[in-house]
């Protein structure tokens, strides 16, 4: 049971959250100008390295806010969490 640091509510149990995969993958400005390959990469491919990854989570049973957080995918350790469109803190790695 992860203890996830919501930047608005503080640490809460994992059951209150939904996962949103890799952070900082913006919706393309103009999807129609992308090749099928570029579009498929946006839709289907997300980074999932072993180690530190900036991810999106949503505190959907709590404040309902989406946020970003550094998590170590190997150890489940959490680094800093931060609000969307704010300066990304450095990777704890």
């Amino acid at each position: 049971m992860l203890n996830i640091p919501c930047p608005y509510c503080g640490p809460r149990d994992e059951t209150e959250f939904h996962y949103g995969a890799q952070a900082h993958v913006a919706y393309p400005e103009s999807p129609k100008d992308l090749t099928d390959e570029q579009w498929a990469k946006f839709v289907f491919i997300k980074s999932n390295p072993k180690g530190w990854l900036a991810e999106r989570w949503v505190h959907n049973s709590g404040c309902r806010r989406w946020f970003n957080v550094w998590r170590n995918t190997a150890t489940h350790e959490f680094g800093p969490s931060y609000k969307p469109f704010t300066q990304q803190p450095k990777s704890p790695a």
Binding site: D13, E16, S61, G62, C63, R64
Partner: protein
């Protein structure tokens, strides 16, 4: 809006159960409720504060109130003109109380980008009070209820018996749950079941 209680039905029919020296549970039916969405730091936010006469702080989990002392021993909600604001998100409050909240905010609504939605039927209210109230809640509530971390006038949204609720620690040994109306019977079943060992 005045509720015509002859035609209206609350999800739990105003039921109560227990022993106040241990734990008492009861539905307080037909309390008004509004979801307010407004961005702090905007003119809209200032307009809301002016209209309510309550200086909202955008701190998630903080409850602010005006003319609204908690009175668990009486059946009715606080005295006239009361407003209670539970901060549920950085731009989100649940407002309740005896004041005509819709009227208070009507002019702000006309000129500013904010959202005030009547959710009086969306949720009902269950009071849990008595020395064992916290123990009963902890059978289902997974968040920290220690007084240092959830003092009086804290609120939180979370999962109670697998359903979404708002929890408000309103005064000593007293908590108020705001379950969604469709889940109210389920939550009542869970609460009264959890209370068995304490009664």
């Amino acid at each position: 809006m005045m509720v015509n209680t002859e035609l209206a039905k609350s999800p739990l029919g105003g039921i109560g159960l227990g022993d106040a020296t241990k734990v008492f549970l009861k539905e307080v039916p037909f309390t008004p409720g509004f979801d307010l969405r407004v961005q702090p730091g905007t003119p809209a936010f200032t307009a809301v504060i002016d209209a309510l006469g309550l200086k909202l702080e955008p701190t998630v989990g903080r409850v602010m109130r005006i003319n609204a002392d908690c009175i668990v021993s009486e059946d009715e909600f606080p005295a006239q003109g009361g407003v209670i604001a539970l901060c549920l998100g950085p731009d989100w409050w649940y407002l309740t109380g005896t004041a005509d909240i819709q009227k208070l905010l009507s002019s702000a609504l006309e000129t500013h980008h904010l959202s005030l939605v009547d959710v009086s039927s969306q949720r009902t209210k269950i009071e849990i009070y008595g020395p064992s109230a916290k123990d009963v809640l902890l059978h289902y509530w997974e968040q920290d209820l220690r007084e240092d971390n959830f003092p009086i006038d804290s609120c939180s949204q979370g999962v109670f018996a697998k359903t979404p609720v708002i929890m408000w620690h309103c005064c000593k040994d007293c908590y108020i749950l705001f379950p969604r109306a469709s889940f109210a019977k389920h939550i009542w079943t869970a609460l009264t079941d959890a209370a068995v060992e304490y009664l």
